[in-house]
Symmetry: none
Subunit: 237 residues, 4 copies
DNA sequence: AATGAATGAGGGTTCATTCAT
DNA sequence: TATGAATGAACCCTCATTCAT
């Protein structure tokens, strides 16, 4: 984030305007003219900085995802346990999307359907973050936190899909103030999923048979990794 | 579905062509000219049947969702237990989306971001189906299948969000043949979620018990809600 | 005029609808579709009767002017004096235009600017009538009613121009109910013009004299031209 | 009027081309493509200057009437007597229409029938001028030049209607060179009308007196109204 | 670096008209 | 005779993009 005291550069003004307008009207319905007016620059100036309308579109998430997702990686060392890591990553996501609704609308509604977006540095950043999440899940399976046999891709889709779905619908309803907020739903979401995939260590008797597989093989693997209990979250509020 | 022997009507040819082209190139990049060529009709003929390019867009899901979702409701009475109902609804979704990839691309990538789509009969059909799913979840909470205190909206978002996420990414990767298919992921998905939200009465004989529930115990519980029929939605207008 | 008891023929229904719609929306903004709906026939039927949209336009005044102007000629023999004849012709005009506002709007606002209208039988009828008026004026000059040296073309333009101007402005104001009506202005108009061009034999008792003329003097003068008959037009072509 | 030496601006070139083409083919039959070619600009450039084809149409008389009618008001102080004022106003009209036949064709044949034209600044200018004429006539009635009881609206319609009629027919005949020209008809027209409405003070020695009036008597009468200045119009807003 | 001015390229839409039935 | 269905042919207008200044 650049110096907050300095007046915004032309480039930033353009990107801010573009973010707002792309998010509100959609990429195709937004016009360079409108963006240039909102940014108080001439249309030609936009082309000085961005070769193409689509380049401008792609430049926005590139800047933001670089800023944000890297930070989310930085905090991981401070957190213990896969479940904590996963929670931390998703927390970043939700915070980003919630604090910057234009950005989430842009990414979820305008960029996801755009095929060329996948070849973009911005998308690479998102993939990276998404890949990090996958790695956490895989680690959780390996270390016995999660059941052996769990499909980590499915789990990632459940996590990301749920969050994106919540945001998409929030946007489609016109972003109402809501209780509970999407952030409030993070822990319930994780509880359900973790409950569904967590290895139940002392399922005295009963679950035994079914769980057995889960309980054995994984147990050993995990002992190597040091018994890694996920840090308990106190459900807030 | 009309007589399969008869040659397709012009109107159907237009909608088929439009579905394919809208799905592949996006609504804005598709041109009436191209659709008319693909459908072997003149451009003017398209305007005979559909007043507007957008009308044509919206006409496609209207036809399909009416056909499909009604059928998915019809089978519910044959199924016992909330979990079965939920599985059945999601099965319909996935089958529709998987067997008609153009359609799922259209709905998930073109229509969802379109604000006007929400005021469309087609969207109403989708909402109806989505509301049915919610009712099933609520019924499950009420009858004790699922934990009291579960947030049914969150659960719905998890189910739908996961499925949509899987499809969106499948599309964005160019719809590769994959093992496991998305349909293959339905049961794992349900297992995780149901495991996470199911009331654990006595933890024993689990897997067997699961099947038992479907067949017997849940049936009884549900009879309280009216003889095992799917929860009635009050048709809203 | 066809039998008033019989239901209108298709052709008449089409022409009635066209008159109304052409007059209200203008020729170019009227559509065959709209006319066909108003007339309760198919579009193709219109082309059975009228080869072209413009043919339909031109057919309307042809029918009406044939009906009306011939009648206006028939009454001339019953009237004495050029001034009476002139008044009678103009009276017909105003009556036609006033009693059939759609028709006057059509002729004055749609047809006059149309160059091809001049080659039309309908226009020929109008020219005929206009020529009759000119003949009357010329007769008046010849027989001494009007000053020698008067320009009959100018006088005709004054008469017709004034009336058309009044109607055009009436239409452009949305045809308000007005006092005095345009018909009420006929005599003031004629008074001014006749006053301006009448031979002043002895300048005294003017206004009184005016009334006398109408009744007597002019009658005699005109008898020179053949017993009070309106001037013959050589039917051209 | 801008520097005559400089090459015409694009905007002027467009308006010139449009005037010619609208006048010759009519508004609806003229195409932007043709105008753009005639003006040697691209079609898009036309839309830079004029938002709409109709805007372009309306821009033409706005420019011209502002230029011309204001000038016609400026000369009034130099002229003595209502009759002189009236003559002067009509002289301007005829001169404008005669020297710029495209313009008169446009106004009389294309714009008059256009309902939206009435809400246009250009039409307001025309109305203003027309209202000035009416004021002169009213002044003439008030100061005794014209007969009490004359209908000033009728008189205005006679003056304007005659002139417009003459021009319309001149256009419809293909604008032939003619003797007498329409300008030549101004004085005969005024003679007839003024003769018809002028107060005949002492009906003897008349015609002689008429000439005298022009030169002297009227001057005195008009001085009552404030030194021979043209009647003030209350600028309406 | 910034822009005012200009435009190429194309898209959606309209409608008079036709023709097989 | 009457028409439902189909379309060819345009036209207006938009806008991303360029370039001389």
């Amino acid at each position: 984030m650049t110096d907050k005291n300095r007046p915004k550069t032309r480039k930033d003004r353009i990107m801010d305007a573009a973010l707002r307008i792309f998010a509100e009207k959609g990429f195709q319905n937004a016009t360079i003219t409108e963006i240039s007016k909102e940014a108080s620059v001439s249309e030609a100036t936009i082309y000085e900085y961005f070769g193409t309308k689509e380049d401008l579109l792609f430049a926005i998430p590139e800047k933001i995802s670089n800023e944000v997702f890297k930070k989310s990686v930085e905090v991981l060392p401070y957190i213990k346990g896969v479940e904590g890591w996963i929670r931390s990553i998703l927390f970043s996501y939700i915070q980003l999307y919630q604090s910057n609704p234009h950005y989430s609308a842009l990414v979820l509604l305008q960029l996801m359907p755009n095929k060329r977006f996948r070849q973009t540095p911005a998308h690479a950043a998102i993939r990276l973050s998404s890949h990090g999440l996958l790695d956490c899940i895989k680690a959780g399976i390996e270390d016995g936190t999660f059941k052996k046999g769990s499909n980590p891709y499915l789990i990632r889709s459940m996590l990301m899909g749920t969050i994106e779905h919540l945001f998409i619908h929030w946007h489609m309803q016109g972003m109402p103030k809501k209780e509970p907020s999407i952030m409030d739903m993070l822990d319930p979401l994780l509880n359900i999923i973790f409950d569904g995939i967590r290895t139940k260590k002392e399922e005295s008797g009963t679950t035994l048979y079914l769980k057995l597989e889960d309980a054995n093989a994984f147990g050993k693997l995990l002992q190597k990794k040091g018994g890694g209990h996920p840090p308990k979250r106190k459900t807030k509020k």
